[in-house]
């Protein structure tokens, strides 16, 4: 590795603009004539719209237009869709209810958009939005997924009369029942995975600009995948043909999944810009984000695990009810199915697994992928039940896990996934050593002396990243392929631009991606620029989510670099009158191996563009593109150990130690990888201890601000001990697995296992707030 190549702890190129206040986020964009939008949103969770009167609002100061859904429909703008088809076990397709970008006849959750107001200033737009008179006829409300499945529950969509979207199965039910029949021990649990609000610090925003001279639209938006946004808005929502629609996602202030989807606001602002003839900007306020960003998780599960007399796992049964909210968001259907049930084998050799998942409409915000997306839910189920089983069997939780680890690869699970590589003993050992697991009992006794309850809990997770082989996801119902594209442009002076379809919104692509070129050609990373986030610059891409930018995005870059390297070597061989096979590129020089004959990198580039002396028949230029479609998912895995101390008088939990030992395969920049883990851990610990999303029985979101929804703050968290072991991933050229979601996947069960260990009561809901922990302590007495 060079000082800036693969594996180097390189400081981030992008930092300078962020630490000096020069970042350019969507809300920072200003274009001539720009006006401001406010949305009129439903105050009711479920109601018929009897009438919408806009006259008063329209007459208010500064108002340019008040537009409603009927006008949108009249202009042919389509309904929002879910892009992944799931079939129920009886073969019927999922029941997708219509989602109009602006509701026309019915509203289905508090925050459902009804109209847009465009005015000179944001304040005037908001004042006028309050003056839009919508008459509602309230309908009965259901917010809880179990209630929504009860006979007689309010019907939310006519397309799904019983609120059931699909009833889906994975695995062999008969084989699993047979395995359970032979069991020496069965552990059963009911497990709830709490609903979360993603809360990227930058609220969603969009600026729609219609150019009547060119009949062309530009959409600035807070997106993790601008090309997918363009594709979907063009192909499904009829906003504009792709060649007439440019989508730009500039600096984006965090995503965590919530900025994957195409929401009503982008569509409506683009349409409204044409309708009114002015550029239209909308920026969510935080409460709007709470109400109308896609939420995460919200599963209710019953699980059973069967062991033989030697404590080997025989089988696993899982029944889950997943709340998808009022509408099916873009990828909502794949989260509780192919990103969830396929991971239920965890790190263990389980001969038989059967999972059933029912997804349900309720009068709540749509639910979709949030950091980890399905995999945290699977890990929570499996790692809670493994810990519980160990307690019931009176064996060490570490040893029960170790006994059942998968140790030979490839390993085909009974739930589709084929693990390609891993060493679960290595991460378990590393974590136990770092956590001084062996010395815990002594610490517990020490804590007891000062009246504190100390507990320890672990979680051994696996996840599937590098989404995903296109043909595989296509066969499972995905509406898109999940490859990635890259283009490497070497300029005539040897500097390099790498165009990528991945999108960075905190992940540091401008640095890590440049490190690939530095490694390959020995050029300084300052001479490598990463271009992303603009459909006019990068031809096509699938964006950043599912820890895919490393395994898929960087693999595409590696492929393009291969092609550039091959051509550069041909040119150099010609210039140096040597055999192409003898050419090596090192430290910025192109050399004939074993000789002192060399030519500087920039001269090879220059030769490619002057084209005065190229090999016969070679095209000028040094620019290559590649599409990379992965051959398999990647499987990061690891072990997280949490140690807590609880004050039994108040129920307050302090995380006194958190260890994460992760195997992410080859690591390009350890500093950035550690940062990803820290952030994931904070979100996972936040889910376990702090973050609760509460709707009342009328469907009002009670936790719709930072006054009510507890975001993890600095004093809620410890400093983390993070470390890596490494098994190279055989499924991509760089050997990388992905690291973005691991922290949020592994940590919640480790925290809850630790608390339940401390308080000697296994019945504990997330978030384990002081009140909940205090009640659990007293319930166990």
């Amino acid at each position: 590795m060079g000082v800036e190549g693969i594996g180097a702890r390189v400081l981030r190129k992008e930092d300078k603009r962020f630490i000096t206040g020069k970042g350019k986020y969507t809300d920072d964009m200003v274009v001539p004539g720009m006006k401001h939008a406010a949305f009129v949103r439903s105050p009711h969770a479920h109601a018929k719209i009897s009438s919408i009167k806009v006259d008063t609002a329209q007459a208010k100061s500064g108002v340019i237009a008040v537009l409603t859904g009927s006008e949108l429909k009249a202009d042919g703008i389509g309904n929002l869709i879910c892009g992944w088809m799931i079939h129920s076990k009886d073969g019927t397709p999922m029941k997708m209810g219509a989602w109009s970008p602006l509701a026309t006849d019915k509203v289905r959750y508090v925050g459902d958009a009804v109209a847009i107001v465009i005015a000179d200033s944001k304040g005037e737009a908001r004042d006028a939005a309050e003056a839009v008179e919508v008459t509602y006829e309230e309908l009965p409300v259901v917010v809880n997924a179990l209630d929504a499945l009860q006979p007689g529950a309010p019907e939310i969509h006519a397309e799904a009369p019983d609120n059931l979207i699909f009833d889906w199965d994975l695995g062999d039910e008969t084989a699993t029942n047979e395995a359970f029949a032979k069991a020496a021990h069965i552990t059963k649990m009911d497990i709830v995975n709490n609903r979360l609000v993603p809360n990227a610090m930058e609220p969603r925003a969009t600026l729609g600009v219609y150019d009547s001279g060119e009949d062309h639209y530009t959409c600035w938006t807070t997106s993790q995948n601008p090309h997918v946004a363009r594709l979907v808005m063009s192909a499904f929502y009829n906003v504009a043909p792709e060649n007439k629609l440019r989508v730009i996602a500039p600096d984006v202030g965090g995503g965590f999944g919530s900025k994957i989807y195409i929401y009503p606001e982008e569509i409506v602002c683009l349409w409204a810009s044409k309708k009114t003839g002015v550029p239209v900007k909308w920026v969510a306020d935080r409460t709007e984000s709470f109400l109308a960003d896609a939420h995460g998780r919200d599963h209710v599960t019953h699980a059973e695990i069967a062991f033989d007399k030697d404590n080997s796992i025989l089988g696993l049964k899982v029944q889950t009810i997943a709340n998808l909210g009022a509408y099916m968001s873009l990828f909502s259907s794949c989260v509780p199915t192919y990103l969830y049930a396929t991971l239920l084998s965890g790190q263990y050799a389980i001969p038989a697994i059967h999972a059933n998942v029912k997804t349900v409409y309720t009068n709540t915000a749509p639910v979709d992928a949030y950091r980890g997306a399905g995999r945290p839910e699977a890990t929570f189920v499996l790692e809670r039940i493994m810990e519980t089983a160990a307690r019931e069997l009176n064996v060490s939780p570490a040893e029960l896990r170790r006994k059942n680890f998968v140790r030979s690869f490839p390993h085909q699970t009974p739930v589709i996934m084929c693990y390609d590589a891993g060493d679960f003993d290595a991460t378990l050992d590393a974590a136990m050593k770092a956590a001084d697991y062996a010395g815990f009992e002594k610490r517990r006794q020490e804590a007891k002396k000062s009246g504190k309850l100390r507990g320890i809990g672990m979680s051994c997770y696996i996840e599937a990243c590098g989404l995903a082989p296109s043909s595989a996801v296509g066969s499972l119902g995905a509406g898109v392929g999940l490859w990635e594209s890259a283009e490497v442009r070497v300029n005539a002076v040897g500097t390099i631009e790498i165009l990528t379809g991945s999108h960075s919104h905190g992940q540091g692509h401008e640095t890590t991606f440049a490190q690939l070129a530095a490694e390959r050609f020995g050029v300084p990373i300052d001479s490598v620029s990463i271009v992303h986030g603009d459909t006019d610059k990068v031809q096509m891409g699938m964006g950043t989510y599912g820890s895919r930018s490393g395994a898929v995005g960087m693999s595409a870059i590696a492929k393009a670099l291969d092609k550039v390297e091959a051509k550069a070597k041909k040119i150099a061989a010609h210039l140096l009158e040597a055999d192409e096979a003898d050419i090596e590129i090192k430290d910025g020089d192109v050399r004939v191996a074993g000789t002192d004959k060399s030519v500087p990198w920039f001269q090879v580039a220059l030769a490619a563009y002057t084209a005065h002396n190229l090999p016969s028949g070679m095209e000028p230029g040094l620019k290559e593109g590649a599409f990379y479609d992965p051959s398999n998912f990647t499987f990061p895995g690891g072990c997280h150990i949490c140690e807590v101390e609880i004050d039994p008088e108040t129920g307050t939990t302090e995380v006194v130690q958190f260890v994460a030992a992760d195997d992410f395969g080859k690591i390009i920049n350890p500093m950035i990888v550690e940062g990803q883990v820290h952030g994931g851990l904070a979100q996972g610990i936040g889910q376990a201890l702090l973050e609760g999303t509460h709707y009342d029985e009328n469907g009002q979101l009670l936790t719709a601000s930072y006054m009510d929804y507890t975001m993890p703050r600095a004093f809620d968290l410890p400093s983390f001990k993070v470390m890596n072991t490494e098994t190279a991933c055989p499924s991509n050229p760089l050997g990388v697995k992905g690291c973005g979601e691991a922290g949020a996947i592994g940590s919640p069960p480790a925290v809850i296992n630790a608390i339940t260990d401390a308080i000697d009561n296994n019945d504990l809901a997330m978030p384990a707030t002081p009140q909940i922990v205090w009640a659990a302590i007293h319930a166990s007495k």
Binding site: F18, Y25, D251, F256, E674, H678, G679, S705, F715
Partner: protein, 162 residues
Amino acid sequence: MAKVELVVNGRAVKGEAEDRTLLVHFLRENLGLTGTHVGCDTSQCGACVVHVDGKAVKSCTMLAAQASGSTVTTIEGLSLNGELHPLQAAFREHHALQCGFCTPGMLMSSADIIRRHPEGLDEATVRLELEGNICRCTGYHNIVKAVLDASEKMGKGAEKAA
């Protein structure tokens, strides 16, 4: 409309704004200083922290008219003469930022924390003092390290440099 006169990052500025205009909006929209961010509506997240007359203030809790007559430093004015402030350098060195959205407020708050603790800082104090600033990316681990490091490096000169 209110008349607003400020000294921002060393330069005298004048402007008019609706009476209800918050300082953060005046900075962003009237002055084009978009480094100061808005991350919430309830003065919780701290993305909008600036210094008003030398003290950290959430610029979403103050009307522009209220601030009139004050001296304001925003993130754009934290570094002088093209050199990074020690905190900015420490944030980069310790990878204390990811998406960068909370970063300006974090930096402005941290500068104030260091100024108020000339005796030096420890981890627990930094974590407590950062209560008013939310970061969703970093888990605070590296932010805490960066603030401690900057505080150490600024040493006795902390008060002056902050």
